[in-house]
Amino acid sequence: MKLKNLLIAAIRSLAKNKMRTFLTMLGIIIGVASVIAMIAIGQGSKKSIQDQISTLGTNVLMIWPQASNTGGVRMEAGTSQKMTIDDVNIIIDRCPSVAAITPQVRTSGQLVAGNLNWRTSVFGVYPTYFDIRNLKLESGSVFTMNDDRSASKVCVIGQTVVTNLFGANADPIGNFIRINKIPFKIIGITETKGQNAYGQDQDDMVIAPFSTVQKRMLAITYIQSMLASAQTEALIPVASQEITEVLKAKHHLGPSEDPDFTIRTQTDIAQMATSTSAIMTILLATIASISLLVGGIGIMNIMLVSVTERTREIGIRMSVGARGSDVLLQFLIEALMISLLGGVIGIVLGIVISQLIATVLNWPVNITMNSILMSFLFSSAIGIFFGWYPARKAARLNPIDALRYE
């Protein structure tokens, strides 16, 4: 039979049983739509995690002192006193792959301005911190290394702090706030960054010169951590290697000994986060695929029933000259049409659902061409795979047996 006639025959027979056709299709529609929506959600969260990780800064390396392990008692990370400003200086001198570095100390501060007060974290860093973290100022300016040397009482504050102490849209540059009773002059306000990957408000902090926080507020001699950036993304591992060697040598540790500090790079964090979201995507896709599979079995079920139901029809077709292959193709094309049409409707529905999720639930979604292509191929494969068996069963019938079938 000519392909055109086959298509006509298949369309006629699908149109003859609209309800049955629709119900069979429904399985595929739901399957494909959920695959698209699930993958869109998975990919969306992956993308938003990646976006948030990039807010960490560019080519960032974080260096913490290892929790000291003396006497078998593990201390909390960052409480070690082994890391000092000398470590920062030696890295500046000896690590060519490191573009910038800053020591970090952190304390919590009770902020008072006028009759309002607010509690938040106070970071003590070098001005390079702003470059490393890509932190831009909304207004004002960053403190300088001179401010650090003289332990000046100046600070840059985040938008959340501004809102809570001065009200939204206020411009408090030049104003003074008291942090743990010490007066600080506000010289800059950071641009709004929003929440990070862990839901923390990145605009709720005060940044002050390192020495000011270390000496005036904490009164300690060590540093809690360092933040560095590599010259290029490709140099992140090199920078990590250089820092490891330099610090180990300085801390008198042999090459075979474990370092007494931890370096975590942005790449590590990104990989960790992406692999988590990749697992989630796979999980979601698996669940959705199962529903697609169930849809496929639905097709097979209906096609099998319809082969039995339509045995007489097959007999009639054969009696007027249909070959086994014509019958096989007709059934296969019917199955394929159901799954392809169901696939297309499912794709449209999946996109609509994803958009709904994005707008109503405010979840990040990312519909990829891949997921559309994949579910389209998958649904046509299902049509062929599950249509094949009933179609072949129909094609093998003897004309007279098919005609005699009651």
Binding site: M1, R312, G321, G324, I400
Partner: protein
Amino acid sequence: MAGEDVNMSQAIISVKNLVKVYTMGDVEVHALRGVSVDIRKGDFAAIMGRSGSGKSTFMNIIGCLDVPTRGKYMLDGVDISMLSKDQLANLRNLKIGFVFQSFNLLSRTSALENVELPLMYNRKISSKEMRNRSMKAMESVGLANRADHMPNQLSGGEQQRVAIARSLVNDPVVILADEPTGNLDTRTSIEVMDIFQRLNEQGISIVIVTHEADIAAFTKRNITFRDGKIIREVEIDKPRNAREELIQMPVAIEEDEL
């Protein structure tokens, strides 16, 4: 006359010692026990016989719907036993028109689409020709105005006429009809026989199975089966003429009413 004689003697269907044995488990049913017969071009034969005598079995075999257990069957000069399943399908499509007692139309499919069915499986025919030929076949059975009706909107007689239209749409060499009037009343049966007679006049060979001698009388030749064998063959000198009888019938009804 001489030319017609040559035509008449040319066998469209030629069977020799046809045997069909159905085996169901241990039981063997000998449905045909050596049937030999020739159907010539332009023939109009009626096959008669008791129930179970093997008429349908014979028809199914010469219609290439079933295969014989033994024996030789030549259709239009081709030995059927040499053909593959696909080639048999091709023969059914191009050379044979089959009419069933139970009509066997596709349900929920318009009359015209039913008639088109054999043409759908004919690769050489364009869509336009398909429409034209199906319409012509519908006209020749007098149902051109019912083309878009579904089978369940047609009477039994009309359904059988659709089935006949379907059987002749591909210009077969022979039309085989197994009890085509079995489900119809007398007048409708005669209408169907009228169509067959007209087709036969156009040169199409026709074989029908019937239980009714009345119906067989419309044909040119009666073949009687018993227990899987042909026991009698009679040429009918003067077949009944369906057309003339139909013209007279309304009169007969009026007479009845008087």
